[in-house]
Amino acid sequence: MAWVFRGLREGIVTTRYPKRADDYGPSFKGSVFVLGEKAQPGGEPIVAGQGGDDSKLAALCPTGAIKDRASKVTLDRGRCILCGRCVTERPDVFAFEPSPEVAAFNRDGLFVPEGTENEEEVDRLRTELASRVRSLRRSVHIRHVDAGSDGSEEWEVAALLNPIYDVQRLGIFFTASPRHADLLLVTGAGTEAMVGPLLTTYEAMPEPKIVLAAGTDATSGGLVHPSYALRGGISSILPVDVFVPGSPPSPFSLLHGILLAVGLLPGDSRR
C-alpha cells in the first residue's frame, strides 16, 4: 500500500511533450550551432579568413565535423560528439543550442548553417516516408538493436519507458520480436560482427518498416570510427530514414526523432 500513497503524493511526473514544450529538454546542451547564421536568420554566413585565425577552425574538431566548405564554415551535427571544444576555443563562431530537436531525414539535413540540400529534396523524402508510414500513425512498435554502442545510448532509449517520458501514452511500444516491429532503432557505429544479425533483424520485419539511426556513432561512426572493426555508421548497412545525432542522444531527442519518423509531431502536415 505504501507504494500507492507515495506515488499519489508525487502527482503527475510525466512530461506533456510533444503537446507542450518541456522545460527540461532545452536545459542542457543539445547541439552546436554556427553563430552568424543564428544571429541573423538567412543572413551573413561566417566566412573563413574574417577575424581570428579561421584556418585552424577545422582542426579544432576531433571528429572532423567542422568544414570550411566553399569558404563558408559549416558544422556537421551528424559527426559532432558535443565535446564543446569549438565552443570553448572560439565562442565567437560556435555556440551550444539547447533544443533537443535535432533529428533529420537525411545526412545533409544535419549540416548547420543550412546543408547543401534543397527544400524540394526534404519535401520529397518527407512525402515518400509519409506515404510509407501512413498505417503507423496511431501506434508504432519499435525493435532496438545495438550495433556497437558505448552503452549510454541503451540507457537513454530505456529511459523513454520510465514514467517521466512514458512513451506508451503516445502509442509507442518496444517489442521483443522483429515480426511485430515497425521501426528499427539502431545504436552504435555498426561493428562488422553485428552486420549479419542487424540485416537478419531488418529482413524479419514486415513492411512498411522504418530505420532510425540513434546517436552520432550510428549516424557517422563518431569518434570511434575509423577502425578495422567498424562500418562507420548504420547507413552503410541499411537504408536509414531518420538520423538522431547526439552522444548519446537525450531521451527527448530520441522521442522527437521517433515522432518525426511516423509523422506524429504537432503541426505535422501529414496528420
Partner: protein, 501 residues
Amino acid sequence: MSDRPVLSSVEAEDLAGLVAARVSSGERFGGLFASARSDGTTVLRALLARHGARELFEARLSPKTNSYPALTPLLPAASWYEREIHDLFGIEPVGHPRLDALVLALGPDETWRPRPGAGQAARDVHPEIDDSALLSHVAGQGLFTIPYGPVRSGIFESVEYLVETFGEDIPHVQCRVQYKHRGIEGRFGELGLDDGLLLAERVEGTAAVAHALAYCQALESLSTLEVPRSALLARVLHAELERVACHLDSIARHCEGAGQSVAYARMTVHKERVQRLRAQLCGHRFGRGVVVPGGVCGPPRVAPAEVLRAISDLERAIGDDVRSLMGTPSFLDRLRRTGVITPATAAAHGALGPVGRGSGLAADVRSERPYGAYGMLGFEPAEPSSAGDALARQQVRLDEITSAFHIARQALDELGEGYEDALWRVALPPVDGLGFGCVEAPQGELVYLVETRAGRLERVKQRSASFHNLALFPDAFGGDILTDFTFIEASFGLSLAGVSG
C-alpha cells in the same frame, strides 16, 4: 602523484610460474595485458595487487617469438586475458585449454592482427570476420545449447549467451562478446592526449566519469604536478553520482525481471532524476567533459547548498522505496540463493566491485589505495557479505548508494568555502612514459595503462571491471534454472561495451 606500480622484468618462460606463485601466496591477479612495439616486439604485463600495493611483471617477446607458456593452466582467471591477447596480437599462449576467439573472431585464412601499440594504421584494414569456427555445440546425455542473442528481447547491449542446458537446469553458459568489438584500443593509438580523453569517455559510456578519471590519473602519474584540492573534491562528487545512477540501473533491472512494475517505475524515475542532477552540475547527463587532465573543467554549476538539498530529497525518496522493496517477499525470493558465487571462487578469480563484495572480498580501490580526495574524506568501505547470491550483490549496491550520497555530501561540505574562487585545473605538460591509473568504477576496479610519446598516445590498455567479472559469469550458474538468468545478469551489473573494447 607518483603512485605508480613497481615494475619487474622477467623472462616470458617464467611469467606463468611467478604470477601463479604470487597468487597462491594471497595476492590478487589484476590482469594480463599486451602491448606491441613498432619494431615487432611485444611486451606482456601481468598486474598483481596486495592491499594497496600494485606490481607489474613485464616480459618481452622478441619479433620472432609468437608464443609463451600460458598462465591459464595454473591460473584460470587469466583465461579471457590470454584469449584476448591471442585475438589482437596473434600470440599463442601455449597450453591454454580452450583458445576460442573472444573479442575478434577472424576467418581461418586471416593473418592480419590489429597489434595495438605497434603504430600501424588500422583504419583501412577490414579483416574477414567469421565466427563459424567458434565452439557452438556441447556433448552430453540430453544436453543442448540455447543461443540467446546477440539481438535479445528488450533494450540490451549486444552479446550472445550460449546456454548449455538439459531443458531447465543450466550447468554452463558461454559468453560471446565479439559482437560489440569496436577496435577501441587500436583507435587510441591514432589520437593525441586530448582526443584520447574523449575516447576514454566512450569506452564504457555508462561509467564515463570513472574512465575519464582513470585515464587522467594515468597521465597525471607521469608528472609531479598536484591536482588542486577543489578539483579532487569535484571529481569525487561526479564519480559518486555516477555510481548511484549505475546501481539504480542494476536494481531497476532486478525489479523488471521480478515483474515488480511499480518498483521498476519508481527506480527508473529516481535514476532519471540522478541523471538530470548530473546534467545540471556539468551540462552532460553522463558527466562527459567534466574530468580533464590536471583537474576538472570547472566548478559544479549549481551552488553546493542546492545540490545538498537535491541529494537529500533523492536519498529520502530512494530510501523509502528500497525499504518497501526489500520487504517484498515475492521479490526477495527471486534473488535469494540465485547465482551463487562462493567466496572461494570469487577469491580465486579476484572478483571486483559489487560482485566481489557480495562474495566476501573487501577489495575497494577507494579504501585500499585512496586516490584523489577519498583519503581526506574518511571513506568507510561497505561491509562485504559472504552469501555470494544475487541478493548479497544487490545489498552491497544499496549500501553503496547510501555511502555514495554520504561521500558526495562530505565533498560538497569541503567545497563549500571559497568554492567560487578555487583553482580547478593545472596545466599538465605532456611527459613520455608509462602511466598507470586505477579507480573504483561502479562496476569495480578500473585500470588504465597509458604509454605516451611526444604528446601522442602510443598504447592505451583499459581493463574494465566488466571484462574481469564477466569471465566469472558462467560460475554463477550452479543449480540455477533458465528463469534465474535475468537476475544473475542484472546482479553482475556490467556493461558489454567495456568488455569487447
